[in-house]
Symmetry: C2
Subunit: 496 residues, 2 copies
């Protein structure tokens, strides 16, 4: 028992409560709030962010964290408490460098930015978004510069925030492999695309029926509706308040069957991670997933490794056909599987197949490197974006809506986040490799029994929350640190 | 310009932000949150309520409000600022008497109570709810006793909170008239009920179509979807965050056409009030409706005075019939109007006609009087409830679900609130009387033009927010204070 730790609890709980409120307002804005609300809610978000700041960064907390980090005091803590103190200390060290007024103004800016981006995207008007984007970038550069040490690059600082230990050196290597192996593989694969007729996917699919099937599918992979919600938003996402309240969203398109199916499986993968955290960590600073990269590994594992396999669909195929008998008339399971794995260069990241997906990420990575490593004018970004799409994917987006405006991330200030998607793919492939050595994954899928798979992930990854980091979890589960070769091998085997 | 007032602004804004967050969590719990969430969210609500308390009740605010209430300083303020200071002072004087720890514990209790009540209601298990209800009553008694002066009755203190100037003396008089005039009228009316065949109302009505019609109807009466949301919940309600974000809910029943139609019109009436508040008051302490009674007058005016009239339905009838052609085959507009105005004693308040509605309220009023005026044991309440239903309405609820467990209010600690519904009916009748002298209301309804009606209410009532109280608004608009005779006359004319 540590008296000092007990003193930390009220600060932690107040931070948790304010964080929950901020999250709820954000959730509401993305899923439900009426058009005119956000300009007023931005003020609320600004004020609450200021309070959050004051709760997290103050002399009392600073002194407590300092004392609790000293070995003698630290030894009094149990495993979870140690993890909590470590996490709080890390967050504190970041937050402390930012003046409260700037933190609050930045949060108000970002609260408004999502709607500005959304309007710009809908109206294909990059210029409308550009001044906001410029301000966000300038804040991000400033915030990173506050903790710049030993000439460390600004972008490396951001990368490390999303995934401990990651930097441009590692990612250049990673994407180097991707460029070397995947680009030629893609051009090879594309040559044989003519034989895959995917036209059924763009027939008309009743939205209500898609909703029912989406709900069924989420439940099928293990999403617990007593602990979660499936709603709709422009851009699918997962948001957790605690392990007993995890929300996912999807977007139903009338003329695209695949889109909502795979976004539901993807977001369910995220949700299973959060729902699987053990109750000892509920509503604590380590009560959520450990990193964005590990999170993406779970979503991509469910979406791609499981969800795009033939075995996964074997027990489900009849149900899907019965839900849409006219549209899927004459479509065989074999053809469906080929279609949902068809690799085809296109503009939109979220709709991309596994092979091209990493290239979409690589483009964003290279542009972010440039933004944070130079003073490239904002107005030059759309052309740069299109040029890179032409270079790596052989296509040029006809509009900015289909180009640089497609992703919500930058409007939320999430620079350095995109590489997590690539890390996620690599972690998923590595975990999958180990899991297949330990259990008959394909057989379980065929039987429609996803419990052993979910339990394995829960025991090895989910239950730990953020009490261990990505590399600790990977080492304990697979016996080695992150190794991108499993991902390259996985893609090669799949597409060759 | 007042420097003191400027110093008050940050306190006010922080209170507004925390209040908004609390409201959002409550909205989410009522409309969307998964089953297991609330027990954890209650902790968040408890902490944020504590913060709200600290923001509202502290020495700085106390000193500022005191100085700003002195004539010399008060004269420096404009009309809205004066109203804001007055409102804050009133709230402060109430809150100050409650110790923070009790305020916080009470809010946590109430946050959990809604789900406990809901479970008890679903399972017809009053005993499951009783201990919670007992705790809430005991808190309410204690809180009221903290500001008891000159032997004022506890229940009078609560009544005054919901409607300034109201007390048991006035309400005993009001309900005395109701009892004397309405009870005999009802038994007269019921004798002729056999000729009204309402069976079409309980045929099967597709929920999706009801939703579409509900959405249309809200828009028809003037609900602005750029400033609002229509969602679903167990019990219909309205919640506003500010005049650009007003939410209403309804409940769609497969075998009840009328229910959602009139709850949508009712809640839209509430929403129009909030949406009509002028922008100068947005997100200030007087940015919402002035009292529950005035609020109910607006909802009941739209639901009953307008919404149950033949003129209202003349331009809408074809659309309703076309939405449900099979179910409404052979039903004439005349019959529909007779049906939606059929007076019939039944168990459920929210489904009650205008004539019996006041009796439902009278029963709750009498029971609340007893609760706060005596030490009646909780376990005796269900029998008392049923006995009063038998006495005034001639029916005995077969279950507590249809009896004492039907209303959410007590689980939210809202004692003294129910009489607002009766005050609302009286205000609506009085306003309607004046309005009909000023403009051809029936003609506007026939033309499907609700704009002049809405504008009249906006100019005379809505735009003022809470900067004037009910009696000030009534005096300015109708030339006299609240007068229950208009309501009695309205009912007599309608049902005779």
């Amino acid at each position: 028992m540590s008296e000092l730790y007990d003193k930390l609890i009220p600060h932690m709980e107040k931070g948790m409560a304010l964080g929950t409120a901020l999250g709820m307002l954000q959730w509401d804005n993305e899923t439900l709030a009426p058009e005119e609300s956000m300009q007023y809610m931005a003020k609320v978000l600004g004020i609450l962010s200021g309070e959050y700041y004051k709760t997290t960064v103050n002399d009392d907390v600073k002194a407590l964290l300092k004392e609790l980090s000293v070995k003698e005091e630290n030894d009094k803590l149990d495993f979870n408490q140690k993890a909590i103190v470590k996490k709080l200390k890390k967050d504190f060290d970041i937050m402390e460098t930012i003046p409260e007024e700037e933190y609050r103004a930045y949060n108000e800016l970002v609260a408004n930015a999502s709607n500005i981006w959304s309007k710009a995207k809908n109206e294909n008007d990059f210029k409308y978004f550009a001044p906001t984007l410029e301000k966000i970038i300038s804040y991000q550069k400033k915030f990173a510069s506050y903790r710049q040490k030993d000439g460390k690059a600004l972008y490396d600082i951001l990368l490390d925030d999303y995934e401990e230990g990651f930097n441009m050196k590692l990612l250049d290597e990673f994407f180097g492999k991707i460029r070397k192996e995947i680009v030629p593989l893609l051009s090879e694969v594309v040559k044989h695309n003519d034989t895959i007729d995917k036209s059924f996917n763009s027939l008309e699919y009743d939205t209500e029926k898609q909703k029912e099937f989406g709900h069924f599918l989420a439940e099928y992979v293990g999403f617990d509706f007593k602990k979660g919600v499936l709603a709709e938003s422009e851009h699918p996402f997962t948001m957790e308040f605690h392990n007993h309240d995890v929300r996912i969203t999807t977007h139903y398109y009338k003329n695209n069957l695949e889109s909502s199916i795979f976004s539901v499986i993807h977001e369910s993968g995220h949700a299973l991670y959060e729902m699987g955290v053990e109750d000892a960590l509920t509503q604590t600073p380590v009560g959520g997933g450990t990193s964005m990269g590990m999170h993406e590994s779970q979503s991509r594992f469910y979406e791609n490794v499981l969800g795009r396999s033939k075995e996964f669909w074997m027990p489900l195929w009849d149900k899907l056909v019965n839900t849409f008998p006219e549209q899927l008339k004459g479509v065989t399971l074999e053809r469906f599987i080929r279609c949902i794995n068809k690799a085809e260069p296109d503009f939109i990241r979220t709709e991309a197949d596994e092979l091209t997906y990493s290239l979409h990420i690589m483009i964003r990575y290279e542009i972010e490197k440039l933004i944070f490593g130079s003073d490239i004018p904002i107005e030059e970004l759309p052309a740069l974006w299109n040029q890179k799409y032409q270079e790596y994917l052989g296509v040029t987006p006809p509009t900015d809506t289909l180009g640089i405006l497609q992703d919500v991330h930058w409007s939320g200030g999430m620079f350095g986040y995109f590489p997590s998607y690539a890390i996620g793919s690599a972690v998923a492939a590595q975990l999958s490799h180990t899991m297949k050595e330990k259990m008959p994954v394909a057989d379980y899928l065929k039987e429609g029994n996803l419990v052993p798979i979910r339990e394995y992930l829960k025991d090895n990854i989910h239950k730990w929350g953020a009490s261990k980091n990505t590399n600790e979890l990977l080492l304990a589960t697979t016996g080695e640190s992150l190794n991108a070769d499993y991902f390259i091998a996985y893609l090669k085997e799949k597409y060759k």
